[in-house]
Symmetry: C2
Subunit: 169 residues, 2 copies
């Protein structure tokens, strides 16, 4: 039977904080700061952050990496009775990976108005035509999650401007 895990507000806050910590690691590595954790029986079984640039892998999004780690940990492609916490709304690829791994619940922070596939552009996790549906919770610690991203992109813009002003540096 498919069980959808439930959490107290404190637990939700805690798991999103761990995802935020992962996002901070990405930030410090010069990667777009997005972090994810997967929880089963109230225990974190996988955590990951975006590292597309370091690995030059188009698939190295936080959610997809966390899903693969959880598959390895549980020795199963089915992540039943788990929940995914992620700082940014999942993209199309990650929404598909969530469906393919049968995760029953997703908690995410900031909306991604340009590429979000669970609420902003599509509601892929709630499509009754697909073979799996997901309970989606949005806006969890969204200020903190969004702030980290804003800070990252502001820093990128600043570096670009500095390059223009001081081309030899």
């Amino acid at each position: 039977m498919i069980q959808i895990p439930t959490f107290s507000d404190e637990q939700i806050d805690y798991f999103m904080q761990v995802a935020l910590n992962e996002a901070s690691i990405a930030f410090n590595e010069g990667e777009v700061p997005i972090g994810a954790v997967i929880v089963k029986n109230n225990q974190i079984i996988a955590k990951a952050h975006n590292h597309r640039e370091a690995e030059q892998l188009a698939t190295a999004h936080a959610e997809l990496m966390a899903i693969e780690k959880a598959n390895l940990k549980l020795k199963s492609w089915r992540l039943e009775n788990t929940a995914l916490f992620v700082t940014l709304e999942p993209c199309v690829m990650c929404a598909g990976a969530i469906i393919n791994s049968r995760i029953p619940a997703v908690y995410y922070g900031a909306d991604d108005v340009k590429g979000g596939a669970t609420r902003s552009l599509y509601r892929l996790l709630e499509d009754a035509r697909l073979n799996h549906r997901v309970a989606v919770h949005h806006g969890i610690r969204s200020e903190d999650c969004g702030q980290l991203l804003k800070q990252f992109f502001a820093q990128i813009r600043l570096k670009r401007q500095e390059k223009k002003v001081l081309p030899n540096k």
Copy 2:
């Protein structure tokens, strides 16, 4: 500048045959028979087949594995000027991976009416709101691609029936 590779009918047939060979490897391994190849400058730079069961990885679809191999080969997450050939219409996850890796052209065989995300259920690769669009060609060697899948699922059903008739075997 983004270039969309073009191919002769013979080339398309050849690259899909290589994808079909990959699908046959999956078949012989007891995996749902789907194969994919990625081509750049008329050369195959990556090929892969579905191996979800063997690895117990929800993400181990043929297209996603081929994309990761091509990323490693080119040392770049951007697969510009490439084309993906795959025996079955990509799912949501793989459509997203195609977008994320900037593949400009996809050639696929059989439609997937239950989960296809490039034509059957969604047209994710042609959404002008996303940051990348893909030229999609469908129905390439679709009879052969579909036949392999039908044969696989017929075999699965037969095995299930045999188990029911001979429960001790």
